[in-house]
Amino acid sequence: MSDPVDHVARTAERGAPAPEAGARPTLAELKERKARSRQRVERGGEVMTVSMGPQHPSMHGVYRAELDLDGELIVTVRPEIGNLHRGVEKLAEARTYHQIIPLTDRLDYISGFAMNHGFCEAVEKLMEAEVPPRGRYIRTIASELCRIANHILWLGVHIMDLGTQTFFCICFRDREYVLDLLEMLTGARLTHSFARIGGVAKDLPDGFDHRCRKVIDFLPRRVAEYERIVKHNRIYYKRAKGVGIFTSEDCYAWRVTGPPLRSAGVARDLRKDEPYAAYDEVEFDVAVEYNADVYDRFLVRMKEIRESCKIIRQCLDNLPDGPFLAPDFAHAMPLKKNVLRNPSAMIQDFVHVFRGPQAPKGEVYRAIEVPKGEMGVYIRSEGGAKPARVRFTTPSFYHGQVVPAMVEGEMIADMVAIFASIDVVLGDCDR
């Protein structure tokens, strides 16, 4: 990650709306608030060890944390990950680049396409493959739909962890609209495997434009309703405000990215900083908040849903014509409909299925902004169709390890709220 100071300076010019006077705390103020909220009492009393997870109702996935409790206060946390380890990185070494794509959407299965996207961006960087404009736009649309679905799901789960099940159902119902769109586009609800090296697997289906516009017109209204229900709710405010403060400094120290970082007042967003796909051709604001607590993480995510709707609308408006998948023999699979009609496409298909796309020697690292933060892909190639080493640096891993630093000194109920607020998916964390 580049220089922190640089980002703080750029936050102002990012078009983030200026907060009211006094609403933006300085780093020192945040640190003081953090110290105040962590009521570490050295009573020297007996601690009680509680094992939270992997079967605990509010531990997302199979995260396990051993808590030492002093009454209701958390003294120490020992997180345990790895219960969902599937060896994706090792599996990837035995597969061609095309075959790795379905592995990636099982990482963060809540936003599968974003994971495909990140991997394909990295492979394209390695192979220096071009993506046609239409492909880039469709990728952007699908990625943003994933972001919306992810944030809505997050909201439901987060609120449920604070005790309201009804809201969870409301969120699931709205997420369904987005999942329907993704299903229409990719054919799958969660594990899309839709990105291809050099583009995407399919063009936008008929009627997608109309339905998608309906949904993105409708969602900002729903977000406004969520905010009416949650933002001004007294109990939510009390539970979330000033809880789990994690300043920008802490975020840099622990490589925390995505909404938790942006809620700490840093306008770091790879969609702006290192644009990929069509992000440099659309207008959007980076959602930034300044208090670095659970409440602001909620605000950031709500803003991001709105921005995502904006991005999708622009993409639909400006969708260029042309191929959605590079007609490039060396890197891209041919379209299936051409394979049985066109001899050269048939040869291309044969080559890509049986031998795989050939990558040059070298190593690349490419990071994109997935809904949960920055997802980086490192690939080392020694030539041939299979990578010598693939490494995914996924946000959930870094966010999962941060839990002790965030919750020690807070109460058990806060542990639940904070753990939900950083949005960890264990498939993404354990890989």
């Binding site: 609120i159 005790g163 099940q165 159902c169 409301i170 109990i235 058990i412």
Partner: protein, 340 residues
């Protein structure tokens, strides 16, 4: 047949009939809770058993009864078995003092006087508070005897929470006592004779609100369901319970809900009295039933809408907001009552 014998027969009939009616009510309240939860959440709730899924509770009971009776090896077995009943029995006992129709006066049934209350007890309100305090033991003992960390935390939370809210509850009730000049629930209802603007919820609006909030805490329902906070403590003091023992806890919780709804409507909403004198031809038990249903619905509504408080926020609300408010309410009521 002399009058005492007739009264004894009436008493036995009432003592059998009232619990049976409440048990049947509870069976359907559990069903309605799930149904309403479904409606609040945009889904159907139970649909399979009986018309509109309305026999769901009986299916649940059959399932719970047929489950294996699991008692954790390291638990304190005797206390573990005892705990559900410590909650269950007081819940039923409160019904004895709850009037569901006119008490005293002219003979009204076959030449005998039928009192619409099981026990016309002078200190009914105190009995209600005392039995509420006993049920705390059930929760704490359940948490303690399970020998599980989550249960223990849940039990301790429940103990602290119920004790602090009982104070506010007690003080807010004293306002009603002062206005009625009696601790008997029968007299309190008689004090609210007339139309709905004679009910105590108008002069005692602050006390009534405090009482309602405190009953939410007493019932362990959201936003005060910390004792069984699912997302924090798995199931709190219920974590180690399963089968019918768990069922008894749940059942007692709903019986409590009915009884406390009855108490709220008796104290502040005229009990069995009709809202307008012109509607007096409808018998008292029906009015009480309607009021109980309204409050039960309110409890459900609150439960499926509101977030859960954090432990320290709950405590500070109980001690710093509700208790001073209820004392202030008491002082104001005392002054007003003594002046007028």
């Amino acid at each position: 047949m002399s009058d005492p014998i007739a009264q004894l027969i009436f008493l036995i009939i009432k003592a059998v009939l009232v619990p049976v009616i409440i048990v049947m009510m509870v069976a359907f309240i559990i069903f309605f809770e799930r149904k309403f939860a479904g409606f609040f959440q945009g889904r159907w709730g139970p649909t399979y058993l009986g018309p509109w899924g309305s026999f769901q509770s009986f299916g649940d009971i059959a399932k719970l009864l047929s489950k294996e009776d699991l008692i954790p090896v390291r638990s304190d077995k005797r206390v573990f078995r005892l705990a559900p009943y410590i909650i269950f029995v007081p819940a039923f006992l409160v019904m004895a003092v709850l009037p569901f129709g006119p008490v005293g006066g002219e003979p009204n049934l076959f030449g005998y006087r039928f009192d619409y209350v099981i026990a016309n007890f002078d200190a009914g309100l105190v009995l209600f508070l005392a039995l509420g305090a006993i049920s705390v033991y059930g929760v704490v003992l359940a948490g303690w005897s399970s020998n599980s960390n989550f249960s223990l935390l849940g039990g301790l939370r429940a103990g602290a929470q119920m004790i602090s809210y009982e104070l506010a509850m007690g003080f807010s009730v004293v306002g009603v006592m002062l206005m009625a000049g009696s601790m008997s629930l029968v007299d309190i209802v008689d004090g609210q004779a007339g139309n709905f603007w004679d009910w105590y919820f108008i002069p005692q609006v602050v006390g009534g609100l405090i009482f309602f909030v405190a009953t939410l805490a007493e019932l362990n329902r959201t936003p005060f369901d910390l004792a069984e906070a699912e997302q924090e403590l798995v199931a709190g003091y219920l974590t180690e319970y399963s089968g019918m023992r768990w069922g008894i806890f749940m059942f007692a919780e709903y019986v409590n809900m009915v009884v406390i709804s009855g108490i709220v409507s008796t104290l502040y909403f005229g009990g069995w009295r009709a809202p307008l004198e012109a509607l007096d031809f409808i018998p008292g038990p029906i009015w009480l039933f309607i009021k109980i249903c309204a409050f039960v619905f309110l409890y459900m509504w609150v439960r499926w809408t509101i977030f859960r408080y954090r432990y320290n926020q709950l405590m500070s609300m109980g001690w710093k907001v509700l208790l001073p408010l209820s004392i202030a309410n008491l002082v104001v009521t005392a002054i007003v009552v003594s002046v007028t």
